[in-house]
Symmetry: C2
Subunit: 130 residues, 2 copies
DNA sequence: GTAATTGCAAATAATTTGCTGGGTG
DNA sequence: CACCCAGCAAATTATTTGCAATTAC
């Protein structure tokens, strides 16, 4: 189940890109950035490494608010805000309520490991520009 | 912006199907059920109506835990549990914490309208069968 | 050395869309 | 009877995969 993982140049570049941005980019955006450093990197490799890094717990994959996945270089669980107009994702810094997992375990009986929460609305940039 | 909405036979059947199931089906599953009642319905029509019903606020579209969207005939906001083994979605019946929206508004300044929350883990069926 | 990983391109999966004829209000 | 909406099929979008060559360990 657990496959070996070699730290290739491509994987390191992808992880560095995600660690050093505050935005929540698409695979394609990561690909464009990575090309600046490894010009012949392929989009398939970007997707493959994003999946590997996600499975390793190094990054988060976020699937809301748009038709494509977005990635977050901060692997510790946290909440997000999704603007319904510009579709940007923002980090939300309120503390994570781990106690909710136990509450849901108590009401469902399920083995609850973690939860995610996304807030929806209009961000300041969009509100002020309308 | 707001387009007229005619209640066609197809749209009614799709809504009835979603209202009368506790599962959180894919577009394809809805299509298979709908064919039993309207045999020549097309998959494109199912997708179109699911989008219309979602925009009308009659159903929820859920994009977590799988590669395809799933739909929920209960339009009032509520939380979900997503099994990481069988990928089924379950409703979670703890109350919705509307106060969180205000808290996030206070910390971000954004116009927060609602939030969603998904719990992840292993459901009973999967835990007991392993 | 050897097996994981890459680049490339073709394949897949999910959903959307253009067109024309039909049915609702 | 006007125009929204259906069916059909082709198009689009996002992501995955097969294969031969390359590279990390």
């Amino acid at each position: 189940m657990v496959k070996p993982t070699r730290m290739t140049k491509q994987k390191k570049v992808i992880l560095d890109i995600l660690r050093s941005t505050k935005c929540h980019p698409s695979a394609d955006w990561v690909y464009e950035q990575a090309k600046k450093i490894v010009p012949d990197i392929s989009l398939g490799t970007v997707y493959r490494n994003l999946n590997v890094l996600r499975d390793m717990g190094e990054i988060l994959e976020l699937n809301y608010g748009s038709t494509y996945a977005r990635y977050d270089g901060t692997p510790e669980n946290h909440y997000h805000f999704c603007c319904e107009k510009c579709y940007n994702l923002y980090d939300v810094t309120i503390p994570v309520y781990h106690g909710l997992d136990k509450m849901v375990h108590d009401t469902t009986g399920f083995d609850v490991r973690y939860h995610r929460m996304e807030f929806y609305g209009i961000c300041d940039t969009c509100r002020l520009s309308s």
